[in-house]
């Protein structure tokens, strides 16, 4: 059994992580910290865990050494305390944005302030197994992934791996997201009468996750456009890509199939009939799958590549547990077997 603790367990990502780790056959959850919920039962914050655990939130200052630490703190906090955490655990998986970028310059540019521990950036592996599986097997420090970045990266990865994108052509990724990606803290825009049923393009461009897509896909001309829709969990990325001259549907089938075959949590969804022809996020709630699909206009090489995920799973806690499995030589899918629901 691997002894794991969670730092900052009262948010949505922390709660999802807790759900996964409590049911993971090879993990024992030692401690879960939360300053604001000190002493409360975790099920009072994460009501789905009632009758599943009697764990209580503890003070971060009482954190004991363990084998692996999951950091689920607000962005910007882990970077200042990373040395402290590294003394407590041999392995760290940080779900915040703090260690996702390899370059301190990129961090400064996208986050607007210098990184507090730039020397640590290169020690971390970007925690998306579909892109870094081998490195993850031996990694000590693993970053989380941006949920939107993950939807975009997995929509683009089959094309990038197969070298099918026309160089320097603009890549536009339209991402539709649910409300849980804003976190557990409310704000005026998340008040139900206001947030309900919006179709709100809140970030036409400039979203910070863009940096992760540029870094991981090696693309320079990429834009993420973010639109909130009525949904709690889920993200759908629709990527508009110009493929190289001569690329055919057959080439694309080959690239997408290969990507789905290599990755246990990637599924190719591309049906000619029925009502489940394209990737859709709603059936993925609670599941670690990323469903991908594509459509090519052969007349002009314009491609639409689609990826659906659950932002709290494949886009956060699910990928983190998948990384844990790889880091400890376990079956990659362990503890991540929930297939999602239908109908839902």
């Amino acid at each position: 059994m691997i002894r794991a603790s969670i730092v900052g367990g009262s948010g949505y990502t922390g709660g999802e992580l807790l759900r996964l780790l409590l049911d993971h056959p090879q993990v024992e959850v030692a401690q879960v910290t939360s300053r604001s919920r000190l002493g409360e039962y975790v099920y009072q914050t994460h009501p789905n865990l009632r009758k599943r655990t009697q764990l209580q939130f503890c003070d971060p200052q009482t954190l004991q050494p363990c084998q692996v630490l999951f950091l689920a703190l607000p962005h910007g906090q882990a970077q200042g305390e990373i040395e402290h955490y590294a003394c407590l655990a041999e392995r760290i998986i940080d779900l915040s944005a703090d260690f996702r970028l390899r370059s301190a310059e990129a961090y400064q540019r996208w986050y607007g302030h210098p990184h507090a521990a730039p020397q640590w950036l290169e020690r971390f592996v970007y925690g998306l197994p579909e892109l870094h599986r081998e490195e993850l097997r031996t990694a000590r420090y693993v970053s989380g992934v941006g949920c939107n970045a993950t939807a975009a990266n997995l929509a683009l990865a089959p094309l990038v791996k197969a070298g099918l994108i026309e160089p320097d052509s603009p890549v536009i990724v339209e991402i539709k997201v649910g409300s849980s990606e804003g976190g557990a803290e409310g704000n005026p825009g998340s008040h139900h009468p206001e947030r309900s049923h919006v179709v709100r393009t809140f970030a036409p461009f400039g979203h910070r996750h863009t940096a992760e897509v540029m870094q991981e896909c090696g693309l320079t001309n990429v834009k993420l456009t973010m639109t909130s829709v009525e949904l709690v969990r889920g993200a759908l990325a629709t990527a508009h890509v110009q493929v190289k001259s001569g690329v055919t549907n057959k080439d694309l089938w080959r690239a997408y199939r290969a990507f789905a075959n290599e990755n246990p949590f990637v599924r190719l969804v591309k049906e000619q009939r029925g009502i489940y022809r394209v990737p859709e996020p709603k059936i993925l709630a609670g599941s670690n799958y990323a469903d991908i699909g594509f459509e090519l206009d052969e007349s002009n090489g314009q491609l639409v590549s689609i990826c659906a995920i659950d932002n709290l799973m494949k886009g956060a806690a699910g990928s983190a547990v998948q990384c844990l499995n790889l880091m400890y030589g376990m079956e990659e899918t362990l503890g991540l077997e929930f297939p999602g629901l239908h109908p839902v």
Copy 2:
């Protein structure tokens, strides 16, 4: 033209009132106050009014005399300032809970503190035209109505008027409500990921609007059970009533038809087939209609009486404007003609 001002115009009720008054052919909106939004355009708070008005929120202290004042302040505030407002306008319509009850004792019991201006309670007429039309024609001071109380009162009114309820039998009114009835200020429970798709029986009994139903229907053994559902606007009251022995379907048809015929905004909805057989709140969004219906089990005299309304219209601003129309001898339906949408 009637010169009207709104005190406290930044909330949902204030916004709805503003929408109605701006389009009312016989009303001129003079001022709209808001301490927190001072100087801002009202359309920045009520975005549906963009390009409809250049009004700006003004300081309550700059309030000028006018013909009629609408008070849309948080509960508890108007009662302490009523003398002041009465100096500014000959007629007052107060949409808060402050002047709905006729008895200071009842107020103390249900609101938990003494009323600040008990001598004013009897000067106010309860602002539900379906119950007080004649008094409203000559009223100077009119209270608003509780939205849930209105759904319950209109579900019960046809029975009360016709004397069909078995005396002393318990009346249980299950009310399902949307999120707008909580007002424009957010709270942890209104955060979209939490509030979305709830079916949450937040008040099994003891809801303050019960007092208005007891008062207006003259019932002593009545219970309101409140359940939040996924909806922004709308309330549905399902009242479980024991009718007097011998009451038949025909008696009920007569009572309900009479009530619908006497009241321009009451519609009887009771179809044998099709998909619109019973009152439903969603098609009432923005409309002032109250749709009512019933079903009797003749074997035992158990009756279900149903009323659907838009809580911000018939349950608040709509009824207030209807009262205005009556107070000034105008057509009762003036400015309230929007029939609601379908589909929606």
Copy 3:
């Protein structure tokens, strides 16, 4: 490994059952029949199962003998073919309404036609483990449960077991339900623009599941009132009950706690603060839990008892698998460990 087959696997209940059985560590799914989807992969109908199984729907006529047969046919079909199925498998779990009632008279009264195999009615055990655990351990034939009946039965069971209900007093159970309980076939009222955001009291009384509540709770004066709300999965029963004179909050705590302690899938939800104070169906999607709670008005003995479930799980497939576990002497919770999601 137990060899199980599903007859009629293309509906929502069949799909949920399939999801559970495919992940059940002690079950092997042999065949899944569907006349209308013959030869198609089951994941084309149940898209959450993509990459989880290569099973194809087969012809009911090719059904082979197995250890346990799950029947998930439309109501009315199994009763005519029960002898045939009994030849194929030693144990049968029928999820339709066909064998839920013990009395042919009651069946005729509530379903409007005579039962086709009345002699089989007494061979079946009603498949709700919370009420029939011991009988289920040795049962060969087990009926499914009505989803609404289950919400009502579990709201009332703690009271019935402890004998706290005032005899002959009317019990009114208001049930709010999601759209999945209508099944996978569309109808004019399930068209999204029509069904979306309804609060539609479609059955004030007379719902067939009432018969199951009368039978299982031994109550004669009970009424189910059904209201559709915006939700796909989930049912909430709010039961209005008159308790015996002298019953206190303490008595109720004792009764509800005992019931929750005796039953692994029953949780008592009754918090004084926070936003998760009462049972709510949305966090139960995909889970087999029934969350129960109550509120007593000690002044008059009026009680509100609440139960939330996922209609496709505790109200259908989940309870069926729980029965399977009991019938084969397995851990009652096996294959039913998914705790539900939050937020969702």
Copy 4:
């Protein structure tokens, strides 16, 4: 008073038209036809109109001459009967797709079959007042508009009018749509449990409305990508455009402001703060406004232009009534004053 009749009044567009015309101060609705609902009251199909009209659906064969005919038939039907209708009324407004394109070749290419009355195509004016106001004042025959085409056309019109788009650069318009645009007839994909909360990119390209955008904006390299979201009414177009080198934010402000000033139903929504910074469809339900906005990346000339509408209003019945007003020299906004609701 203008005597108007509606042919095919039982669909969603017909119902919306009826709502508008019944409240229009200068219109008298003579007849509404429907083969399938013959003899039924229109309020049985359009429940929001209960107590507003006693009109009944009549047989198309009984259609009498009138001043203006609104055709709201399924696509493909009006073109075969246009001569017949032209004998009955001097002016015709056809809301189907039949007479939107000016070229028979384009019709054949996008609709897959030859047009039945190609000689009529040039007699029709495309019914979007924002693009054809002057022609509409004297038009006898006016086509409807595609709802998605309208969202796209109004997102692009300010740029096209000001000549700001880089010639031949690809224009990608991502459109998110509600379920009402599929019409009143259900299909497997519109069944509530399936349609609820989808984010479904059902048409990556090739949508027929593309032809209307090419024609009206004079663009050749334009792609519409359609995604269904959880919403009944509403469409949001997010257009990704490359502007000409040197175009600045100031140029864009000027172009958008001019367009909003010239058109009574166009509003520019572009705020620096608050929660209503960008166009959003939900507050437009029932309103004829088109809200437009934009965001420019000055570093590379990439522009996002946004337009929100109610698909049944500005995208169908609202624009049709606006055309009627222009054709008869009435105030353009007559009968279209409903501003939309907030919150909703």
